[in-house]
Symmetry: C2
Subunit: 401 residues, 2 copies
DNA sequence: CCCATATAGTTCAGATTGAAAACTAATTGG
DNA sequence: CCAATTAGTTTTCAATCTGAACTATATGGG
């Protein structure tokens, strides 16, 4: 069948409980729980929690932040939080811009910088060079705030091989099978830099730092139409790692040819290019075209209205199919779908009602609250999450060093 | 965010390792491994394996089956297998028939019986009564073979709530929100009877007792078109438990209305009724209509050929979308799609090639090898699997008794 | 026929770790 | 200032793994 599971050792229990305590602190967030509260919350004894927290504090992942003094009787507890002096750098390469952010273990965005950059067709090493400059700013900001950088996450708009640091295919950048050297962006960071897909990162950002529902489909409308599937608070990537390709669901069997080699894909109706073209918006920078489109919609120009209506209708078809297939009950719109939400939603909802009546509650179709920082937060969050989920490995590494 | 994980206790290690040993024995299958081989395979020490096996043998889940004598030097090992004297009854209610089977822990079908029964529109208690008669045969067969029955699995062609023993909706039986009493089919079986969906069970049967690939989409062509999604050797059911509804993917936005309330669903092109109707096969029993259709296809009658061609084409659209969305790389055809495979496959493959070129290797589009017993094996297998995955709970229960 | 060799399986000491209970620490309120 | 209350630590105990030594049972060469 498939691979054999590893045997359970006595020490695994501690591994798991360290993670449980980290996760509990992370979830409790701003409440800064005491050891006693963690014991109550996790089901562990106070003794066990004390011992676990001692290890986590020693390693610097968790800090004590003063006493409780809430007027209750009894000895006040020591508040605990994920250290605000450890951080991860989130980075994003997109078609029209580059962005970096510094996120501390608690999930606070401590520094943020975006620059416009026409990356389409640019050689990967050129783009990485520019991004390196931006990353240096984040490193400087971290030094200034006395934050030690554990690692980084880099999101790109394409299919990636995380293990090998390959961008397998990013059609909108015109990159095919390019090897990046993300590690070079943050020399010396103990956990390195992790490559990820933009839509997946945005979905994870939404999960960890947004509304936080455990099951939803994130729809990313950038130049391409991407998707990130969150099931049971985990990203579903599929066996090969490329699940969520909402843009290439067939929404009309007689539809036009698509750049993917197929036909009738959602992207041919609802991708940025498709919408701009159908709305007769002239060529130009993304910002300008978006302004023109919004103005045309506000002026109720028929071609623009129709373009967005069609996009909404076919997005509805794709969501109806997706919801049925994957049993999805909530959708979060991001990217240009978020920008166009006001005009898109009516057609989208009526389409959903036609093709999958009653399946998706209108209240469960929301717009991302994180806007542009969602992808950064998600990219950094993946590294933060890996520390929360396996603090034992981190402890080991820091003990050796 | 979501629910808190349970704390790790020292005893969890044994729980996990008991399961690991059970699973190792199950996987090794006919090879009947010795304790030493299990130690090598699992990474546990011989001492640990001995202790674990002792518990499993005592509870009756595992039996020793004679010595190895393979001409090697050294003391021969004691072969171990999942007990062939413990069994689970698999049961199936479908539109045109009822079936039961007796499956031992090793996955061998020890008894099997199917009867035709026009269940459409029949009251659930009537159907359960008939099924009870069949189940009694399985119980008698078990007694004769000295097999003690641990529990049962019951598959139905509809959406179920496993926890509450509800059939939420089985349109092809004309059942809506019916409560079944599956437990009554096997009074006294310690693990009870577990209700499940027919397509999901067939997919699991294929996983555990068929070709055994870890990732695939099982497509069930019964009266409705269902699907079972297997990812990483697990059934993907989605947050609400109703994932895999392949039959209601929208394959043509201008298609006809569907019984689900939507429009253009795959089922309206590729369901049994749709195909028979498009092929102009007169009403009658399923067996007769199938014969007529196969004869018409053999005679190359244009309406039949066209009907099956269309079904294949739209199935291709649905599979292209599904494969893109869920990153699926293998498909197993079951039910009438298996019967019609010869005529269906050409249209299906050319459709896949048109809508998702290169995504699905023709070699990865296969027909189920288990035929009708797949669903039974899967239904029983879910209970067997639960014993393999948590033998500790079973040990506890049997110690109390 | 017997003993060296090899492999299977068991026994026992040692280490890790959480539970449970008793204990110490720090605060409030009468 | 002391009783009550809550936080956190220390101690003892049980579960269960590893590792090493030991016993059991086979093969094969002299």
């Amino acid at each position: 069948m498939n691979e054999q599971a590893a045997p359970g050792r006595v020490g695994d229990v501690r591994r798991r409980n360290l993670s449980l305590v980290m996760d509990s602190i992370a979830r409790t967030g701003d409440a800064k729980p005491s050891r006693a509260q963690l014991a109550a919350g996790t089901g562990l004894t106070k003794a066990a929690v004390s011992s676990l927290v001692a290890d986590l504090v020693e390693s610097g992942l968790v800090s004590e932040v003063g006493l409780y003094r809430d007027g209750e009787r009894g000895r006040p507890g020591q508040g605990l939080e994920l250290s605000s002096r450890r951080g991860v750098v989130g980075m994003e390469i997109n078609v029209d811009y580059l962005a970096v952010g510094l996120v501390d273990l608690g999930g606070n965005l401590r520094f943020h910088s975006t620059v416009e950059s026409r990356n389409r067709g640019l050689a990967p090493h050129k783009v990485m060079e520019r991004l390196g400059g931006l990353a240096a700013e984040a490193v400087a900001a971290a030094a200034a705030a006395d934050i030690s950088i554990l690692g980084g996450g880099l999101a790109v708009p394409g299919l990636v091989d995380e293990q090998r640091n390959l961008v397998l295919s990013a059609p909108n950048l015109h990159w095919e099978h390019e090897e990046l050297k993300p590690r070079s962006l943050l020399e010396g960071a103990p956990l390195g830099v992790r490559l990820s897909n933009e839509a997946n990162s945005a979905a994870l950002g939404e999960l960890w730092y947004g509304k936080g529902q455990p099951d939803f489909l994130y729809v990313s409308g950038e130049v391409g139409v991407g998707g990130g599937v969150i099931i049971g608070s985990e990203l579903y990537t599929g066996p090969g790692g490329s699940a969520g390709e909402l843009g290439h669901i067939v929404v009309h069997p007689d539809g036009p040819a698509c750049s993917c080699g197929g036909a009738g894909c959602l992207e041919t109706f609802a991708g940025q290019e498709a919408i701009f073209e159908a709305a007769r918006i002239p060529d130009g920078s993304l910002g300008v075209r978006t302004e023109l489109l919004l103005a045309a919609l506000a002026a109720r120009e028929p071609q623009a209205t129709r373009a967005v209506h069609d996009a909404g209708r076919y997005l509805g078809v794709a969501l109806a199919s997706s919801a049925r297939l994957m049993d999805i009950e909530a959708v979060v719109l991001g990217g240009h779908f978020a920008v166009l939400a006001e005009w898109l939603k009516p057609a989208l909802m009526s389409s959903l009602e036609r093709y999958a009546p009653g399946l998706l509650d209108p209240d469960n179709l929301t717009v991302s609250a994180l806007e542009h920082s969602g992808t950064l937060l998600g990219a950094a969050g993946q590294v933060i999450r890996s520390v929360i989920e396996s603090p034992f490995e981190f402890l080991l590494a820091s003990k050796l060093a």
